[in-house]
């Protein structure tokens, strides 16, 4: 069973969002996503200062087998990125909600709550997807 922390919000493309203070959010990929991708060997995260749009391919994670886009769940400006992932992409496999966080965005517009799922909704979504 996939780990789905209750304090985060989720997207259909398997990113998670953690609300921080001052309208900033932290973004990563879910436990389900890392498990489906397998051993990750390369991660490309956006640089601080870059503007991202909700739904835009903003980062790339590559497993041994394939490359996958990571879509920013929110619009805004990147204020930090996890530089450790460059040398330790396996952090995404080992701790997807913690040490494997990818980047932080200062949101420019209110978050579209309808586009993001609660932990319970994401859990149901995964169950539906695997049918």
């Amino acid at each position: 069973m996939s780990n789905i922390p209750s304090d985060l919000r989720y997207t259909k493309s398997h990113e998670w969002v953690r609300a921080a203070q001052d309208g900033a959010v932290e973004i990563g990929i879910t436990d389900h996503a890392q498990s489906a991708l397998g051993d990750l060997v390369f991660v490309e995260v956006p640089e601080a200062g870059r503007s991202v749009k909700a739904g835009e391919a903003s980062a790339v994670v590559e497993s041994v087998k394939a490359a996958s886009d990571v879509y920013s769940p929110v619009s805004g400006k990147v204020i930090a990125r996890n530089d450790q992932l460059a040398s330790q992409p396996e952090l995404l496999n080992q701790d997807p909600y913690g040490a494997g966080w990818m980047f932080r965005v200062q949101t420019s517009a209110p978050i579209d709550a309808a586009a993001l799922m609660s932990a319970a909704d994401y859990s149901n979504y995964l169950a539906e997807e695997s049918k």
């Binding site: 397998g38 051993d39 060997v41 390369f42 590559e62 041994v64 087998k65 490359a67 460059a86």
Partner: protein, 358 residues
């Protein structure tokens, strides 16, 4: 539902992530593909390769038939048990499949073909076998387990009857032999020493679990692909196919032009192609961060045919088809951006050691 090998239930029980491969439901990995890769390079791992097609060819004229069918020359097989790697070609020179052929006796050869091409291979073999009165029998009753790694042989041998251990332990590379109901060959697809064992499907789960109890790590198709690519070995469908001939696929060494009077299917086309400037298959090492993948464009000219991340080198490597005139420094287009790569000699890794400096 896809086809399942005799070991399918065992894989599921042991936590395998199952994927479709050429119509077969096969293990991709049992948790970590990279750990499985390292187990094979450093110790011993095992793969279920029962999806591959084992075909027994029998008849008085079987050797004559194979001299016509295969681009490599079975005339080189003189001692029973000896194996030969070859392509089977179309008259155009395009590759129908690559295979291993074992000499079993004067009237019996065994070939092992790829899973995804099995049906078309059988049809092609049978069509050309008929005039030679050779019979092709698909051995669906056999399972196959590849045990690979520096400690693979010593961990496998205790499973044999004491009287047979010595003989199996003395098999030279690229030789096989029958040990009761098992056919054991010192062959593989990883660049490491080891065995490929063909055994009755009914015995497969018991043997697999006994090998596991010997400390041999189950490994999936994911590790099999990174291991073979590090070893510079081709994958059918990626690195060669019916539209690409062996000479532009790094397989010229498997085409026996001598003796000149041997007329094999595809020879006429290859005699012309060998005198024509064209492409070649080379190894690529990515000089920057990122991962090479099949179908990426090589600049100024060419295409990646197989690419991956090499767990041994901690860098991305690939096989690519480029013009023979290509300079050693090239670029590869990854998601719209050009990245520097070097043409290097393959294999990248063999017997646990990196053969190129990174």
């Amino acid at each position: 539902m896809g086809l399942k090998t005799a070991l399918y239930d065992t894989h599921v029980l042991q936590g395998a992530k199952i994927v479709d491969f050429g119509g077969w439901e096969m293990p991709l990995h049992y948790g970590s593909q990279i750990e499985e890769h390292h187990a094979v390079r450093r110790d011993a791992g095992m793969f279920d390769v029962s999806h591959m097609g084992v075909v027994d060819l029998t008849g008085d004229r079987v050797r004559e038939f194979l001299k016509n069918l295969l681009a490599n020359d079975v005339g080189r097989l003189k001692i029973p048990g000896k194996a030969l790697y070859s392509c089977m070609l179309l008259p155009s020179g395009g590759v129908i499949d690559d295979l291993i052929v074992y000499l079993m006796s004067d009237t019996w050869f065994r070939v092992v073909v790829n899973a995804g091409t099995r049906d078309k291979d059988l049809e092609w073999i049978r069509r050309h076998a008929a005039p030679f009165a050779v019979t092709a029998t698909l051995r669906g009753d056999l399972a196959m387990i590849a045990i690979q790694g520096p400690n693979a042989r010593e961990k496998t041998l205790p499973l044999l009857a004491p009287a047979q251990r010595a003989a199996a332990g003395e098999l030279a590379p690229f030789f096989g032999g029958s040990f009761d109901a098992w056919f054991i060959a010192r062959t593989g697809y990883t660049g490491e020493d080891g065995f490929e064992v063909m055994l009755p499907a009914a015995d497969a789960a018991k043997a697999w679990n006994a090998l596991r109890a010997q400390g041999i790590q189950p490994a999936g198709l994911g590790a099999r692909d990174t291991l073979r690519l590090e070893a510079g070995m081709n994958l059918y469908g990626n690195d060669m196919d019916e539209n690409h001939h062996p000479l532009e696929s790094g397989l010229a060494w498997t085409v026996a032009f001598e003796p000149g009077e041997r007329d094999f299917i595809g020879r006429g086309a290859l005699e012309i192609l060998r005198r024509t400037p064209g492409d070649e298959l080379v190894g690529l090492l990515l000089e920057e961060r990122g991962v090479l993948r099949s179908h990426q464009k090589v600049v100024p000219a060419g295409e990646v045919t197989s690419g991956t991340f090499s767990p041994t080198l901690n860098r991305s490597i690939a096989l690519a088809r480029v013009p023979k005139t290509a300079a050693l420094g090239v670029q590869v287009e990854i998601r719209g951006k050009l990245h520097s790569a070097s043409i290097v000699k393959t294999p990248f890794v063999r017997h646990g050691k990196a053969l190129i400096s990174v």
